[in-house]
């Protein structure tokens, strides 16, 4: 899966905006979006929020977890623990990137937030690399990866699954009596 496709899925998440126009309810195929009144906050999916922001029709309100203290705590916890901490949003990386790219003026301390999220991401990817390495080395057949987000799985995933497949093919061809399958990839 391309990172752009993971971002596509993340864009369905809801975020609060404050519009500066008014519009009555829209009935989209995927659901209804509530009436828009200037100055009153309303929830819309991220793809719409970014588009409205680009047309200067709204102001974005950062989600409550996108705050320097909270992210600092999460980063510290991630560094302390060996396992993965539960992230406040399953799409934290994509949302951070989108919101900070298009709406950094609406988000206080945008640069600090960017650094904190990047630090947390780096720690998590390092942990993922270590556990993938031990998975392959010990030839495990199953792994539980509960608090990983889609973007992280996606970053390591394609390479990992292809590598595991190749190893499996090489190993099963070593075992005697399997030679009948040598042409079956």
């Amino acid at each position: 899966m391309e990172p752009a496709e993971a971002e596509f899925l993340a864009e369905k998440e809801l975020v609060t905006i404050v519009p500066n126009f008014s519009l009555d309810r829209i009935h989209l195929i995927g659901g209804d979006l509530g009436p828009f009144n200037p100055g009153l906050p309303v929830e819309v999916p991220v793809w719409l929020a970014i588009n409205l922001k680009q047309r200067q029709k709204c102001r974005l309100i950062p989600p409550e977890w996108m705050d320097v203290e909270k992210l600092g705590e999460i980063r510290d916890q991630e560094r302390k623990e060996d396992t993965f901490t539960l992230m406040p949003s399953p799409y934290y990386m994509e949302l951070t990137k989108l919101l900070l790219n298009y709406a950094s003026d609406n988000i206080p301390k945008a640069d600090e937030i960017r650094t904190l999220v990047k630090d947390t991401w780096d720690t998590r990817i390092a942990k993922l690399r270590l556990s993938a390495d031990s998975f392959v080395r010990q030839q495990e057949a199953h792994a539980k990866l509960d608090n990983l987000t889609l973007m992280e799985i996606n970053t390591a995933g394609t390479f990992l699954t292809q590598a595991l497949d190749h190893m499996y093919k090489l190993r099963t061809n070593l075992q005697p009596g399997e030679s009948a399958h040598s042409q079956d990839f």
Binding site: M1, F8, L9, F21, L23, D24, R25, I26, H27, L28, I29, G30, G31, L33, W47, L48, N51, K57, F135, Q139, E140, A141, H142, A143, K144, L145, D146, L148, L150, I153, G157, L160, T161, L164, D165, Y168, R171, T172, Q175, Q183, D184, F185
Partner: protein, 238 residues
């Protein structure tokens, strides 16, 4: 499967477009009609898309979902054509249509890639399918697969085989085209709790063991053991 009637484009000058009644979809002899809201329909399209993307083999075809989605998109397009004014609403609807259309075409394209890759096995599976089992190919895909097979055979014959000595002029596509690798690893998220899923490590010294899959957890595991769970919708590939 019917899509529940809902005013799809209520803002367009008072035209309350009734939700698409996809009655052509429930032609599999007496199965119960599920009424889905459009939102649930789009959600199941996305699930089917993700499953198809990550599964190593071609999954069941979902003609009902595809027909209903195409109907919804056509409905919305018609409404948009009729309502020319109201620029903001039109553009929002258009954006959503583009998003849904992207998922739909990516899904269909993914299936076509797999059909082209594994065409003899797909056709063989379809031929040997029992009466009550769901089909893995839609009628159009079946026609495409057969044509592709015929074209490949003709091509191989004209380019190479007819110049070979007479006793070597046959090629078995079933044996020479690689089979889908059902032992590949996939990531999945559990939607319904499952118990006692067998995990088979490759080395003979490690014994088979069973695990339970908790709802909401994510796993990395070989495709073969969980293939029926994907078909039934109990897990989602990611």
């Amino acid at each position: 499967m019917r899509v529940g009637a809902q005013p799809l484009a209520g803002g367009f000058g008072g035209m309350a477009a009734a939700g698409g009644e996809g009655t052509e979809g429930d032609s599999d002899g007496g199965s119960e009609e599920l009424v889905l809201t459009p939102a649930q329909l789009i959600h199941s399209l996305e699930q089917a898309w993700l499953n198809e993307k990550f599964a190593p083999e071609l999954l069941e075809s979902k003609p009902e979902i595809i027909e209903c989605v195409v109907e919804q998109l056509d409905h919305m397009e018609e409404n948009l054509k009729r309502a020319k004014r109201g620029d903001l609403k039109v553009s929002v609807h258009r954006m959503e249509i583009e998003r849904i259309r992207y998922v739909l075409s990516s899904y269909l394209r993914c299936r076509l890639v797999k059909i082209e890759k594994f065409f003899p096995h797909v056709l063989e599976k379809e031929k040997s399918r029992a009466e009550g089992e769901p089909s893995i190919l839609s009628p159009e895909e079946f026609a495409f697969a057969k044509e592709y097979m015929a074209n490949t055979e003709t091509y191989l014959k004209n380019v190479a085989l007819k110049h070979m000595p007479p006793n070597l002029q046959k090629v078995s596509l079933l044996k020479s085209v690689p089979k889908p690798n059902l032992d590949s690893f996939v990531f999945l998220r559990v939607l319904e709790r499952q118990e006692n899923i067998l995990v088979q490590p490759e080395m003979d010294e490690q014994r088979d063991y069973t695990i339970d899959l908790e709802e909401g957890s994510q796993h990395l595991i070989r495709y073969k053991t969980i293939a029926p769970l994907v078909a039934s919708g109990a897990v989602q590939l990611i």
